[in-house]
């Protein structure tokens, strides 16, 4: 109630000002000056009452006035009647709304869209905001917007970094506006309506609040209604879901039109449509309400900035919606998650192993403690049959196996037989590697798959590699020395190593900023590191020198990872584009664009055909390496995602975010995505944490930065001791 009264007060104040300015229609002035408060409140109380006939006549009058360019009278009359600024546009919008998001009309008028675009983008900075509305009328604006949106995309794709025209175009979409004073009333009206609908629809419709709030606020800001924007924000920001608080904070700091240029969050909202999934019933309810009220301001926003994904079926409950919401741009669209994902593992190459050797070796090793490499094919049975969910072996070209790789595979299999079976009754042992004297500078850690090496990335731009086995790290001899080596000898691989350089750790210098991502190649010959300086570097672990600096990200690269088959690697960073590289190409092979905020973590699927990226826009995307398409958008996290992991069989994915939750995803199968009532695609771990949590192990003031299971299921952890 207080809110409404507040709104009225504002209205009065505004009105008094306006009356001073507009002094042509004397009758109107009289009406205003006599008792502005009472008329306005009367008008408002009337319009919600919904006397349809009155509305119709009013509309007719309005349109008449408009046709005769009597804009000021239109304004006055509108205010008198308590109608929304665009009430007269309703028939048009309705017709557009009946189609799916007004797309057909775009197609029809696509031809002059460009001309409109050019006109507006020139006009907007100069023209006063009111012109926008009056000159275009209701029809042009939505068309213009859609086309501009498309254009914006092409601009981004074409010219890469150049933001400025894009920003202007995007921003100018807000040039259409209603009376700023009425915004809270609109919002409040909708709020009341949604609060009054049946419980089953309420949760779904409540999703509209946040995007609506944001866009209304941005419109107010864009049109220089700073105070109104502030009031609007103060009034309604408390209603938003708590997990949007971070965004709201950014929004709140934005109070001027000038701020909107170059603000990333703003751009995110503008360049993408907020996706909502609403059941058909709920949608109809909303639509009917907005049409009844002639509430075109809100309707326009919904039309232009929201993508409502309508599905048939039961409306979803609050908990179901909460499980999926939270990302910067709403949920993933349904068709975005339709593509088939081959999540199965690739067939293991047949490795010929003399079977009769096996028994002997097995006996042998009982006496000796490992180190030898008995050849054994225990994985044979697993790799024999083709997994129907696996991609074709040659779907993406993979490097051929070298002898050393085969040896490693054999070793791997042998170790796998010694794998400890873990379970609730058999918890893993954890070996913790503490980095001492790191002075809070440890930023990234990686282990090799065979757990023989540890690499650490540091804030002082260095990368350090440690050997955790008795085998020391040695450099290959210099070229001059190498030429003296007998290449025919059996131990040539030993001979090329320089014994003098043997040490437990090596430092790699080359970056010029903190190293945020680090990854060993599967064959342990290379190391990747990504840094604040915008480069990804490839290091040789034979010579301990930098081989390549991959330049492409101009901004900090937050994470990088080698493909499980080597050769390829993925990197992602502040520029919101994930890049797929091959080690022998200095330019990326694929660029995965779509995230709305920093890409914070990158991960290859175990079959190397897919790449997962987690982002600060609170979504996880799965990309197809072959096509470069985004095949899954996973929403549900409420904070920036900071870590990802695939299950070894490739079927599940786990993600951790700053919202303190770990989500487990089973979203690669052909989930019946229409049935939203059941499937959210993920299990929310904290809810079951009492049952699932097996143990908590505290470290002594050492934040844990990395975890790694060895082939025998020993858990390795690493972190910097920080007393």
């Amino acid at each position: 109630m207080a809110a409404v009264q507040d709104g009225q007060l504002n209205l009065e104040v505004e009105k008094d000002i306006k009356t001073e300015i507009t002094n042509d229609g004397s009758g109107n002035i009289n009406a205003n000056s006599s008792s502005p408060g009472s008329t306005s409140s009367g008008g408002k109380s009337k319009s919600p009452a919904g006397s349809g006939e009155d509305q119709q006549t009013l509309l007719a009058v309005l349109q008449f006035l408009k046709r005769n360019k009597l804009t000021e009278s239109v304004d006055i009359l509108r205010r008198e009647a308590g109608l929304s600024a665009d009430a007269d546009d309703s028939p048009v919008s309705e017709s557009a709304g009946a189609g799916s998001g007004g797309v057909p009309s775009v197609g029809a008028d696509g031809g002059d869209a460009n001309s409109l675009l050019s006109r507006v983008s020139i006009a907007t900075p100069v023209a006063p905001p009111d012109c926008g509305l009056d000159s275009h009328g209701g029809l042009a604006t939505p068309i213009y917007f859609h086309s501009s949106n498309n254009c914006a995309c092409t601009v981004v794709a074409a010219s890469g970094g150049e933001d400025q025209p894009d920003v202007n175009v995007v921003l100018s979409a807000y040039s259409q506006q209603g009376d700023p004073v009425l915004y809270p009333l609109y919002y409040n009206g909708l709020k009341k309506f949604i609060e009054s609908v049946l419980d089953c629809h309420r949760a779904e419709l409540s999703q509209v609040f946040y995007p609506l709030f944001v866009h209304m606020y941005l419109e107010l800001v864009y049109n220089n209604h700073e105070n109104e924007a502030k009031q609007f924000f103060e009034k309604f920001s408390g209603d938003q879901e708590c997990y949007y608080e971070e965004d709201l904070r950014i929004l709140s700091s934005m109070s001027k039109k000038e701020h909107m240029k170059g603000n990333e969050t703003m751009l995110d909202f503008r360049t993408s449509k907020f996706v909502l999934r609403i059941s058909r019933d709920s949608y109809q309810l909303l639509k009917r309400h907005l049409q009844e009220r002639q509430n075109n301001q809100i309707w326009n926003i919904i039309q232009e900035h929201l993508y409502i994904d309508i599905f048939d079926g039961m409306p979803r409950s609050k908990s179901q919606i909460d499980a999926m919401s939270g990302s910067l741009a709403g949920e993933g669209k349904r068709d975005a998650n339709k593509a088939k994902v081959f999540y199965g593992l690739l067939k293991e190459p047949e490795i010929e192993v003399p079977l009769d050797d096996e028994d002997e070796e097995a006996e042998n090793e009982e006496g000796k403690p490992k180190k030898k490499k008995p050849k054994k094919d225990s994985m044979g049975s697993k790799s024999k049959k083709q997994d129907p969910n696996a991609p074709q072996q040659t779907r993406i070209p993979l490097p051929e196996l070298k002898d050393s790789d085969k040896l490693d595979k054999i070793m791997n299999m042998k170790e796998a037989t010694k794998k400890i079976r873990l379970g609730p009754d058999n918890l893993p042992s954890i070996c913790f590697y503490s980095f001492l004297n790191a002075y809070q500078g440890l930023t990234a850690v990686d282990f090799t798959d065979d757990s023989s090496l540890i690499a650490g990335g540091f804030a002082d731009s260095t990368v350090r590699v440690w050997s955790v086995t008795p085998k020391k790290l040695r450099r290959v001899k210099s070229a001059a020395d190498l030429s003296n080596i007998d290449k025919e000898s059996d131990d040539v691989l030993e001979r090329i190593m320089d014994e003098k350089t043997a040490s437990e750790s090596k430092i790699l210098y080359g970056h010029s900023g903190p190293v945020y991502g680090i990854s060993f190649s599967p064959d342990r010959n290379y190391l990747l590191s990504s840094s604040e300086d915008g480069t990804v570097r490839l290091w040789s672990l034979q010579t301990f020198t930098c081989l390549v600096g991959y330049k492409g990200h101009n901004y900090p690269v937050w994470d990088t990872q080698f493909s499980p088959y080597g050769y390829y690697f993925i990197s992602g960073g502040h520029d919101r584009v994930a890049r797929l590289w091959a080690t022998d190409h200095y330019q990326p092979l694929r660029m995965f664009a779509g995230h709305l905020a920093d890409i914070t973590c990158t991960l290859f699927h175990p079959n190397s055909n897919y790449v997962a990226t987690g982002s600060a826009d609170r979504t996880i995307r799965l990309w197809d390496v072959l096509t470069g398409n985004c095949v899954r958008i996973l929403t549900g996290h409420k904070g920036p995602i900071h870590s990802l992991a695939f299950s070894p069989n490739g079927k599940f994915m786990a993600s951790g975010a700053t919202d303190g939750r770990v989500l487990l995803w089973d979203a690669f199968d052909d989930v019946e995505l229409d049935d939203f009532t059941a499937a959210t695609g993920h299990i929310h771990l904290p809810e079951n944490s009492q049952e699932l949590l097996l143990g908590t192990y505290m470290t002594k003031s050492t934040p844990v930065i990395h975890l790694h299971f060895t082939r025998r299921n020993l858990l390795l952890a690493a972190g910097a001791y920080n007393p």
């Binding site: 502030k230 924000f233 103060e234 920001s237 408390g238 708590c242 608080e245 904070r249 950014i250 709140s252 700091s253 934005m254 109070s255 001027k256 701020h259 603000n263 609730p424 009754d425 058999n426 918890l427 893993p428 042992s429 954890i430 070996c431 913790f432 590697y433 503490s434 980095f435 001492l436 004297n437 790191a438 002075y439 540890i454 650490g456 540091f458 804030a459 350090r464 955790v468 750790s505 900023g513 903190p514 945020y516 604040e532 901004y555 900090p556 502040h574 920093d598 914070t600 600060a616 920036p640 700053t658 097996l694 143990g695 908590t696 192990y697 505290m698 470290t699 002594k700 934040p703 952890a717």
Partner: protein, 594 residues
């Protein structure tokens, strides 16, 4: 709530004065108010933007503290030149200055003399990064090694003992997980489990082999004969963070040990066990509350047991009582809560046995020791209610004793120093006594004293002590314990006397009472000199042993003891005392005895 918070977030802007100050600093004077306002809004917004970006770098740097380098990196993102010269890892000392109605925060940049820098020796090279491995967990159980944090932090131990159902401890929930496994296999069972009340899982305290060895070593060293080993063992108990698992064992060990050794009157072992209790209490990582039911009885036994040693007249079991009393007081201070009421229960126990006529003197001593350690409040409330006044001037008897005890120069100041305000009077008496006769044996007096004692004893104290509402047992003169000790023999057998000094001064509000014990331990009078009472109150007891009394028969001591009391009573005025007791820093000292 959120609504209240958020507007604050969005409205925080830099003050316009800052803009002016900054403009002046770069030579722009006379900035208009409007431009200042516009500027400050813009600057605030940009600063917020940069801070948000800097946060990103902080998160990716895996830190919780924003550093200047984060800001630099954020500026770099925006293509702004970073701020040079702020590469401080630590707190940047901004200074504050005000003047002319202006307030200014600034970063003090001192002029640096390069020659100084060149001449100063280079700082130590920071240690290089190194890698160290340890076991965080072995098959789900966290080993108690220095690299790991204490296995169960106190809070966790507490939740385990108070809310056993909620607590989840690492490596200890094998049982729970088995239950869970069963629950997973049959949904029905699970439903049942959830539906019915959850039983507290039986927790087995299995010790690893290492722990068992450790336990054996420690307990053996604690009660063994090698003092060095014992000190080490106690040190380990007091500091080792991993004893949580063994605590129940230690507790039982102590409680059983006390039980056995009290019967056997093995004073040494009892002392060792009490030292173990002390060590356990000193260990900051242990949650002892769970085992107080075993430890407190053991400690109390060591305070009040009738006999703690084979030869009570020779062995210093008083020390054990004192020590145990201190332990008791410490545990009351630490563990007493409104729910367990340890302190009040202990106090009641002590008071009750103290007031009981049949109580042995040793027990009585223990009770008073225990009560007095609990602090002046308790002592005042419980001890004073049984105090009675004595009105018999026998100062000269006392003086005669002192005359024997003290070396010859009878300096008034010295007396004052030793006996407080009583000093001068005592001094005069002593001087008289010295002049009078050296054959003033005490043997003639006991009867008279005890008669007097009997007479006076019957007067209940309560009528003088208005503040105390506690029940006061009416003590019949004939049945009073003091009559029992009146024959010197018994006292001699126990080798001890108690006296209490009633001291209304000392504490800030002047209303408290403190008691000092004079104990006569075989051939030695150990007492706390009166003028050190202040330090007793404020610090630790300062005990001044007075030696050289071995030539005196016990009767003399006894006599001395009574006489002393009377002197004091004579000089004190009860009404005066009471009137003084409400004032601050009253210097009056009144001595009573039991």
């Amino acid at each position: 709530m959120a609504e209240e918070r958020r507007p604050k977030q969005c409205t925080v802007v830099l003050p316009t004065e800052s803009m002016k100050a900054m403009a002046e600093s770069i030579g722009v004077g006379q900035l208009q108010e409007e431009s200042c306002a516009a500027l400050s809004e813009e600057v605030s917004y940009r600063i917020k933007e940069i801070a948000q970006d800097a946060l990103k770098f902080m998160h990716h740097g895996k830190r919780c503290k924003l550093t200047t380098s984060d800001i630099d990196h954020a500026l770099k993102l925006k293509n702004v030149e970073p701020l040079y010269g702020f590469q401080s890892q630590e707190f940047i000392p901004f200074r504050f200055a005000s003047g002319g109605g202006r307030e200014l925060h600034f970063y003090e940049e001192k002029e640096v003399d390069l020659s100084d820098i060149i001449n100063t020796p280079l700082p130590r090279v920071p240690l290089d990064v190194s890698l160290k491995a340890h076991w965080l967990s072995i098959e789900g159980v966290q080993p108690a090694i220095p690299e790991n944090p204490p296995p169960a932090p106190k809070e966790q131990q507490k939740t385990e003992s108070t809310e056993p159902l909620k607590a989840v401890k690492p490596g200890q929930e094998e049982e729970g997980s088995i239950q869970k496994g069963q629950g997973a296999t049959s949904a029905e069972a699970k439903g049942k489990k959830d539906g019915l009340m959850r039983m507290k899982p039986r927790s087995t305290h299995e010790l690893s082999v290492e722990q068992q060895l450790y336990y054996k070593e420690i307990t053996e060293a604690c009660v063994g004969s090698c003092e060095a080993k014992r000190a080490e063992a106690l040190q380990s108990i007091a500091t080792d963070p991993g004893l949580y698992q063994m605590l129940p064992r230690f507790s039982t060990f102590i409680s059983e040990g006390v039980r056995v050794n009290v019967v056997q009157n093995n004073l040494a072992l009892l002392i060792y066990l009490m030292r173990m209790v002390k060590a356990l209490m000193d260990n900051p990582t242990l949650y002892l509350e769970k085992y107080l039911h075993e430890l407190i009885p053991a400690v109390v036994t060591c305070i009040v047991s009738k006999q703690l040693c084979l030869r009570p007249d020779v062995d210093n079991h008083w020390a054990l009582r004192d020590f145990a009393a201190r332990l008791m007081a410490q545990s009351c201070k630490t563990f007493s809560t409104t729910t367990n009421n340890i302190q009040s229960r202990i106090t009641k126990t002590f008071t009750k046995s103290w007031l009981d006529d049949k109580t042995q003197w040793t027990t009585r001593y223990g009770c008073i020791a225990g009560l007095s350690e609990l602090g002046p409040d308790v002592s005042c409330a419980f001890v004073s209610c049984t105090l009675e006044e004595m009105f018999s001037p026998h100062s000269k008897h006392c003086a005669s004793v002192i005359a024997k005890a003290r070396p010859l120069p009878d300096n008034v100041e010295q007396y004052r120093a030793d006996y407080g305000y009583l000093g001068p009077m005592l001094c005069s008496h002593v001087v008289k006594a010295r002049n009078h006769t050296h054959h003033h044996t005490a043997s003639a007096h006991p009867n008279g004293v005890s008669e007097r004692n009997r007479r006076v004893r019957g007067v209940p104290y309560r009528q003088h002590h208005q503040g105390t509402q506690l029940p006061h047992p009416h003590v019949h003169p004939t049945r009073h314990p003091n009559t029992a000790i009146a024959p010197g023999n018994q006292v001699h057998r126990h080798g001890n006397q108690l006296r209490i000094i009633f001291h209304p001064a000392g504490t800030v509000d002047g209303s408290f009472v403190v008691f000092v014990f004079f104990e006569i331990v075989t051939k030695t009078i150990v007492f706390k000199s009166i003028n050190t009472i202040h330090s007793v109150l404020l610090h630790s007891p300062d005990i001044v042993p007075v030696k050289g009394l071995d030539t005196y028969s016990f009767k003399a001591f006894y006599f001395y003891y009574f006489l002393h009391c009377r002197i004091i009573v004579k000089t004190s005025n009860l009404t005066h005392m009471e009137s003084c007791s409400n004032q601050k820093s009253v210097k009056q000292i009144n001595i009573f005895y039991i």
